[in-house]
């Protein structure tokens, strides 16, 4: 039998998988089109995703219901890793989550990409002892947030991003012809 943790995980993962398909982020044409600045649907979807998450998570933390997990701001591996991820992302139109979702939707290229990801993880494991501990010691701000780092209240940030982002999305909204 499945434990409560497993059922919860299947449920949350399930709604995410469903959302990736209906939001069409699990679609390499949308992603490549976005990175080539030709398709603004996915870009707007991602912006709305980020703004809604920001508000949702902020509200949860105000009422003490948030289970946060802040990644340490280790600048070198984050920047180098982010660059490699971005490069692979632009090469394929997949990221780990959408790669799995695309494979699930019958895309053979996504299955091949997931196999590459599996080997990429193995390479990371093998190289880990030689790179990660060394890089973690330099230029590491720890598990900090933008409000903590700048000593400003979190609602300034949430309000600022939502206000500005919402305005940009509204002003540039696609109109029906």
């Amino acid at each position: 039998m499945l434990s409560q943790m497993q059922i919860l995980a299947l449920g949350v993962g399930g709604v995410f998988g469903m959302a990736l398909i209906v939001a069409e982020l699990a679609d390499p044409d949308r992603i490549i089109g976005t990175l080539r600045l030709k398709d603004f649907h996915a870009m707007r979807t991602i912006a709305m995703f980020v703004l809604t998450s920001m508000v949702g998570v902020w509200v949860l933390s105000q009422v003490g219901l948030a289970h946060l997990s802040i990644k340490p701001a280790v600048m070198t591996p984050v920047a180098v890793g982010g660059s490699l991820l971005g490069f692979g992302f632009g090469m394929t139109g997949f990221c780990p989550g959408t790669g799995l979702a695309c494979a699930a939707a019958g895309r053979g290229d996504a299955w091949i990409s997931v196999a590459g990801m599996f080997l990429g993880a193995l390479a990371f494991i093998v190289l880990w002892p030689f790179i990660v501990p060394q890089l973690s010691d330099v230029w590491n701000y720890g598990q900090t947030t933008l409000p903590e780092f700048t000593g400003s209240p979190s609602w300034w940030w949430v309000g600022g991003f939502v206000g500005l982002g919402g305005l940009v999305l509204f002003v540039t909204r696609p109109r029906r012809k």
């Binding site: 943790m5 995980a9 449920g11 949350v12 993962g13 709604v15 998988g17 398909i21 209906v22 939001a23 069409e24 982020l25 044409d29 030709k38 991602i46 709305m48 995703f49 809604t52 998450s53 508000v55 949702g56 998570v57 949860l60 948030a66 289970h67 946060l68 997990s69 990644k71 701001a73 984050v78 180098v80 890793g81 982010g82 490699l84 991820l85 971005g86 692979g88 632009g90 090469m91 989550g97 790669g99 799995l100 979702a101 939707a105 019958g106 895309r107 053979g108 290229d109 091949i112 196999a115 590459g116 990429g120 993880a121 193995l122 494991i125 790179i131 701000y141 409000p147 780092f149 979190s154």
Partner: protein, 176 residues
């Protein structure tokens, strides 16, 4: 525009839906994240095949990197539900390439790039400590400092790679 097909949901509804999923995930257990499980899958196999290696590896010896847990079942749920949803909305279709790849080369080229790209992106993801879900979306949701360099690096190199590998826009005026 010629590249945009009629979407299933308007962008704002799609974004709100994803944002609510993030909020649900944070309320239930932790922010969204997918990529760690690629390490866990390798870790679980290595634990069986070469447990001495795992025990001597400062990252892998931690139980969360070789024992399937919440994140593992999360990814299984993601896969199964994505498949079922794709069938329901008529998006399930066996195929080996996409429109952008077809406009820029053969299926063989698409598969080779998919493999190499998958390798690079997962390696990068783990180095950065998270992917487009775990670092980017979860990072912005929590306003983490790490999301700023991550976002700049990811989009800059993503746009660069897309320009290198997909110079031709599919659709109407090809080569124009």
């Amino acid at each position: 525009m010629h590249t945009s097909r009629e979407p299933i949901l308007p962008w704002w509804a799609a974004g709100i839906l994803l944002g609510l999923v993030m909020t649900l995930a944070v309320a239930v257990k932790k922010p969204l994240g997918v990529s760690t499980q690629f390490v866990v899958a390798n870790g679980a196999i290595l634990k069986e095949a070469a447990s001495d290696y795992v025990d001597g590896h400062d990252m892998l010896k931690q139980a969360k990197y070789h024992t399937p847990g919440y994140g593992w079942w999360f990814d299984i749920g993601l896969f199964v539900a994505a498949s079922a949803t794709a069938v329901l909305v008529g998006k399930f279709k066996p195929r080996a390439t996409c429109e952008w790849a077809r406009a820029n080369g053969s299926v063989r080229k698409r598969l080779i790039l998919s493999f190499i790209g998958g390798f690079i992106l997962l390696f990068g993801t783990r180095l950065a400590g998270g992917c487009t879900s775990g670092q980017f979306a979860s990072g912005w949701a929590q306003l983490s400092l790490s999301v700023v360099p991550f976002t700049v690096a990811m989009f800059a190199f993503g746009m660069l790679a897309a320009r290198i590998f997909f110079p031709k826009t599919p659709g109407v005026s090809e080569g124009a």
